[in-house]
Structures are given as structure tokens and as C-alpha cells.
């Protein structure tokens, strides 16, 4: 239970020692307490809440768009070997280009603003979800598919009784990967090409040479990413309640 806390607590301790003994100048490495009070300030002033609200809306909308397209195309590719042959290789090639590699190009097309954020996030979600969904469906044991044919399952039963539950673990690792990538991409876009959100808050802190704000941003981004991943794992466990506990 306490095992996962050992590492962060030791880092915190080391950080405290480092600042107490002034191994680094306070302007470069503020003490944990300073950072904590900055955090409280940012919360009470509403800055961080506002930034987070914007970032969370972006990730939700972008994720919803990317996931909807990714699931649809992934299901179609998993069901049709022909479609997979047409688009599969291109998608896997695109997946090798980091979402941020598209940033300069997309900035020219969409300009700086909400659309750019949504497009980058949706794209970051779309590719891994498509690839994983298709792979998960193709890996459903042929034994089960034969049963579905023999029972002549209708399309809805085929989808909700066989395909989605059968591919669920792979789909979910795709979704977790997607959300992780999208979150990182969004923060970077906010840092480079935006005037709102948590990422922008960090850039703003850096330009003011207020490293405490930057550190608050880092911790908040890490914590939110961690919570989102935990939430997805929880949802997956709920959906897989049928599974034996030690499997």
C-alpha cells in the first residue's frame, strides 16, 4: 500500500535538503514550501482552476472526437481484411510521426486557437485507438467467431456480445495510450502556441522567471494525467468484472 509512496517522498525529502542547504539558487530551485504556497495562491486566485478548466475541456472534446473516429475506423478495419490492407500500413506509418511533429503544419492551416488544440488532441487519440481496436478485433479467437456464425448473431449482438467485449483489453490499452499522448501533446501546444490552459500557465511562469509556478504546473499535469489513467483502468476493471481475479 505504501510502497508506491516511497519514491516520491524521498524525492521530496531530497528537494527539501537541497533547498535548505542552498545547493541551487532559490530562483532556480524554490523550496517545496514556496511551491506549495504558490499552489495555494494559484488556486485561491482562480488562475489554475481557470487554466485547468480550459485544458480539461480541450482534452475531453478532442478525445471524444478522436475516439469516436478511431473506434469506428478500428472496428471497420478489424472486420474487413481488405480495408485493413488499404489503410493499415499508412496508419502505422503515421503513428511513427509524433503528434507534435504535425504542429508547425497544422498551425499554418488552422492558426492558433481552439481548433488547433482540438485537431492535435483528436489526432493523437485517433491513431492509437484505431490501431489497437483493429488489432484487438482481429485477435478475437476464431473459435468464438465460429460460434457467432453458427448462431447467426445479428449485427448488434455481434458487436456488443462478441466484438467489443472480446477486443476490450486491447481497445483499452489503446485508449490509455491515446489519452496519455493527447494530454502531453495538449500541454506542449499550450506552451508553444496558446494563451490559455495549464501549459500556458507554465510558459507564463517561466517568462516571469517564477520557477515555482512552473513546478506547480508540472505537478498538476502529472497528477491529472495519473488520475485520468487511473480512471480509465477503473472503468476497464468495471467492464471486465466477469474476469477471474487472478487471470
Amino acid at each position: 500500500m505504501l510502497l508506491p509512496l516511497i519514491l516520491p517522498l524521498s524525492v521530496l525529502l531530497l528537494w527539501q535538503i537541497a533547498t535548505a542547504r542552498e545547493w541551487l539558487a532559490p530562483q532556480i530551485l524554490p523550496s517545496p514550501l514556496t511551491v506549495f504556497w504558490t499552489f495555494v495562491d494559484l488556486v485561491t486566485s482562480g488562475d489554475i482552476v481557470e487554466g485547468l478548466a480550459i485544458s480539461l475541456r480541450r482534452i475531453s472534446v478532442g478525445f471524444a472526437i478522436g475516439a469516436a473516429f478511431g473506434l469506428s475506423l478500428g472496428i471497420a478495419m478489424g472486420r474487413s481484411a481488405k480495408l485493413e490492407q488499404y489503410v493499415g500500413p499508412s496508419l502505422r506509418a503515421i503513428a511513427q510521426v509524433p503528434s507534435l511533429g504535425w504542429l508547425p503544419f497544422l498551425m499554418l492551416i488552422f492558426g492558433i486557437g481552439e481548433t488547433l488544440n482540438y485537431v492535435i488532441i483528436a489526432k493523437a487519440c485517433f491513431v492509437p485507438i484505431t490501431i489497437n481496436t483493429a488489432a484487438g478485433i482481429r485477435n478475437i479467437p476464431v473459435h468464438y467467431v465460429e460460434v457467432a456464425h453458427v448462431l447467426r448473431l445479428r449485427r448488434s449482438a455481434m458487436l456488443f456480445r462478441l466484438i467489443l467485449p472480446g477486443a476490450l483489453p486491447t481497445i483499452f490499452s489503446g485508449i490509455r495510450l491515446a489519452l496519455g499522448h493527447a494530454w502531453i501533446a495538449m500541454v506542449v501546444v499550450e506552451m508553444l502556441a496558446d494563451t490559455a490552459g495549464v501549459g500556458y500557465m507554465m510558459t507564463w511562469g517561466r517568462t516571469l522567471f517564477q520557477i515555482d509556478i512552473v513546478i506547480v504546473g508540472m505537478v498538476v499535469i502529472g497528477a491529472i494525467g495519473f488520475l485520468m489513467d487511473g480512471g480509465l483502468r477503473w472503468i476497464e476493471r468495471r467492464l471486465r468484472r466477469w474476469a477471474p481475479v487472478h487471470a
Binding site: 473459435h143 468464438y144 465460429e146 460460434v147 456464425h149 453458427v150 448462431l151 447467426r152 448473431l153 445479428r154 449482438a157 456480445r161 462478441l162 467485449p165 472480446g166 476490450l168 471486465r240 466477469w242 474476469a243 477471474p244 487471470a247
Partner: protein, 281 residues
């Protein structure tokens, strides 16, 4: 009255000169050659033979999972074309969907029937009782023993009231005690449902215990080498001398073809002898 009404729904199955080849490394490989036999309405017929004799392939052709073959498979005189609700199959493994409960798995058998949810519920409950899984409706497959899972698979095949039930070594993976118990369950279901059954097995004793007729096959390529009729009434007793005599008869058909094959003799169908009823078109 119920029994009479059901009598009409029983089906006959005609396997007419069925041959099947796969291509392996570009070369055709013959799996089944000129298979011919008839299953009368309400009969329980076993297909027996060594592994590699194509008996499971034959069932896949009959159920409609594989439509690439020569010859004709007639169900009540009509050529089959893909899976339909009038044929049900139980595979060697239960093949229950692990993410669905027992009742949800069984209900899949009614998905294409257009039955109302209430009707589905009623029929599923009824069949859970038939296969004696009362109390396990909401259990998941991993919580069931092998025998229980196979009974759920039988129920899933039965709910749509198929006219003919195909069984592909359904008891092969079970321990001998469960197996003997399940054989009696199967006979009970066969009697109650008045259904036509074709069962693939490699167990001579099982075939003699259950069947009206045993189709004996030899491998490479799969061919019918004899058909043995068993006219003993149920229940049959395994220990009796009559039972042993029946087993010996089936065994003699199997052994003769094997020794003939290993001696390099011409692989012809063995001549009809006393007790071996041969029915070729």
C-alpha cells in the same frame, strides 16, 4: 401431444458423395472422399474414426461453416447453404463467451429468432433446467466445471429448437466419471427433445452406448469403411457380454481397415459381413 407435434420437426440428413480437399503448399490434399450415409429422423448416429479421418471436418460441412466441398448434403431433401437455425452444434470445447453469464450465453442461441425478451427469458430458464444448471444462470464460464460449461453449450445449441444437433466430441475433454454422467444426460435430452443427433467421437464405448447407428471412418483420406447398426434398447449396460460383442463388432471394422492399410493392400471398402449393415447409395 407435445411429443407428437415435435415428431414432425425431426429431420433426416443425407450425405451424398461428399468429398473435400484443402490446398496445402499449393498441392491439393484430400480430406474426405466420397462420404455417403443417411441419418433417419430422430436417429442418434455416431461418426467414429482415428484422428485425421476428417470426422470434425464433416461436421463443419454439415453445420455450414465450410461450404467448399463436392457432393451434396441434404437436410430433409434440401441442399444446405450456410448455418441456419435448424442445425445446432456443440464443439469439443464449450466455447462459451467468457464475458457473458450462463444465461446470456444461452440466450445467444435465440438472438436470430426474433423472440421477445420475455420469451427469451422463459426459454432460457427452461433450458437451464433441462441441462440442470439451476442456480448457475448468473455464473460466468470460468466459475463452471468442464462438464457444467459443456452443458451450458448444449443448452445454447438447443434453445433455437434445431431439428438436428451436431456434436463434435462434446465429451472428449471431460474426466471419465463426468463423461459417463453426461452421456446419460445426453440420452435424456435426446429422448425428451425427440431430436436427430449426429455425434463425432473417437470412443467406441461411447458410440456403442449412445448410438442407433455407427459410421466408421478411416483416415487419409477420410472415407467411410463401414456402418454398424446397434438395435439394443436403452438403457444399455456397459458390462454385459452383449455390449462387449457390439464393441467388438465396431472394433473389427476399424482394425480390419487399419491392418489392410498397413499391409499395403488395396483400400477398398470391406465386404459386408454378418452384423455390419452397409448402406451405400
Amino acid at each position: 401431444m407435445r411429443a407428437e407435434a415435435l415428431l414432425d420437426t425431426r429431420s433426416s440428413l443425407d450425405i451424398q458423395a461428399v468429398s473435400k480437399s484443402y490446398r496445402v503448399d499449393g498441392k491439393p490434399r484430400e480430406i474426405l472422399r466420397d462420404i455417403r450415409f443417411t441419418v433417419e429422423p430422430g436417429e442418434l448416429v455416431s461418426v467414429i474414426g482415428a484422428s485425421g479421418c476428417g470426422k470434425s471436418t464433416l461436421l463443419r460441412l454439415i453445420i455450414g461453416l465450410d461450404t467448399d466441398y463436392e457432393g451434396d448434403i441434404l437436410l430433409d431433401g434440401r441442399s444446405i447453404d450456410g448455418p441456419t437455425a435448424d442445425r445446432g452444434i456443440v464443439f469439443q470445447e464449450p466455447r462459451l463467451f467468457p464475458w457473458l453469464s450462463v444465461e446470456q450465453n444461452i440466450a445467444l442461441g435465440l438472438d436470430s429468432s426474433g423472440a421477445s425478451p420475455a420469451e427469451v427469458k422463459r426459454i432460457v430458464t427452461e433450458h437451464i433446467e433441462i441441462v440442470r444448471l439451476n442456480g448457475f444462470a448468473r455464473a460466468y464460464p470460468h466459475q463452471l466445471s468442464g462438464g457444467m460449461a459443456q452443458r451450458a453449450a448444449i443448452a445454447r445449441a438447443l434453445v433455437s429448437r434445431p431439428k438436428i444437433l451436431l456434436l463434435d466430441e462434446p465429451l472428449g475433454a471431460l474426466d471419465s466419471q463426468t463423461r459417463a454422467y453426461m452421456q446419460d444426460e445426453l440420452l435424456e435430452i435426446w429422448r425428451r427433445e425427440k431430436i436427430t443427433i449426429v455425434m463425432v467421437t473417437h470412443d467406441i464405448e461411447e458410440a456403442v452406448y449412445l448410438s442407433d447407428k455407427i459410421v466408421v471412418m478411416e483416415p487419409e483420406p477420410g472415407r467411410v469403411c463401414g456402418i454398424v447398426s446397434i438395435d439394443a434398447p436403452h438403457p444399455r449396460r456397459r458390462g454385459t457380454s452383449k455390449f462387449s460383442a457390439l464393441k467388438d463388432r465396431v472394433l473389427s471394422v476399424l482394425v480390419r481397415t487399419q491392418s489392410a492399410a498397413s499391409a499395403g493392400l488395396v483400400r477398398s471398402h470391406p465386404a459386408a459381413q454378418g452384423g455390419i449393415a452397409r448402406r451405400y447409395g
